[in-house]
Symmetry: C2
Subunit: 160 residues, 2 copies
Amino acid sequence: MTESLSPERLACWRAYIESSQRLFTRLEEDLRADSELSFADYHVLVLLSEAPGQRLRMGELASRLVFSPSRLTYQISSMQKRGLVAKESCPADRRGSEAVLTAAGLLTLREAAPHHVRFVRTNLMDDLDDAEVACLTRVFERLGRRLRAARDASSTPADK
Amino acid sequence: MTESLSPERLACWRAYIESSQRLFTRLEEDLRADSELSFADYHVLVLLSEAPGQRLRMGELASRLVFSPSRLTYQISSMQKRGLVAKESCPADRRGSEAVLTAAGLLTLREAAPHHVRFVRTNLMDDLDDAEVACLTRVFERLGRRLRAARDASSTPADK
């Protein structure tokens, strides 16, 4: 089953995937209990709050969240119903649309953030020394670049 | 929003969470395309294949997968319908039940594993040097222990 990964690398992969899934499950439960937000809600609020004009095109948002277009439509319409975001047509391209952070969305994010940051510190970041922080940053930035490049390559028409 | 994490640690957390979510999404798509298994299906097959007698109590399986009892019931009944696992009452405790790997489940795992291991190597493990493997193993084993301890503490009655 595992013949092509060394025991050290298999142990590494398993520790990473099992602990990360456990962390993401707890993070989701913790956010919901504290602020009635899912992690996807929170992530959308953060991305919009940092974007110029607090707005992003739907396609850009889908790509940042790694969501399919239909999953993003569902996500944004759920957040629209709760008043956290609005949806507007793009000024530059009338066929496209953008998600826009509302004032209520910004206030919700500001209320949720301190608790969420405490969760992140208590559960992971305060446990790491500076060398581990540097190692994780390096490994996961490389991983992100590789996965984005693979996605871009697979969505480029073959004749280009 | 981020006053209590240093810029280095915030960059680390973001690289970790965004790249990991991107990786887990791709891993799920890749497994489904190659073998019609979800990652949860695959994980259940691996855990059962490694357990004594290829069987695990439902409670133990829920804990290993970080699934609620209802989510595990749904997961196992979906795998039962596809013939990958069977469900039996525990020999030791007639009220409890166990999931048991079927021969079809083992064959499915054996067919899926080489492709999945290649995915894991290509997308993450072959990119890491030995020092990075050691760092990730150390960090994520500590994280797993901490999260399990927190869960055990919160499920212990207060008067014990």
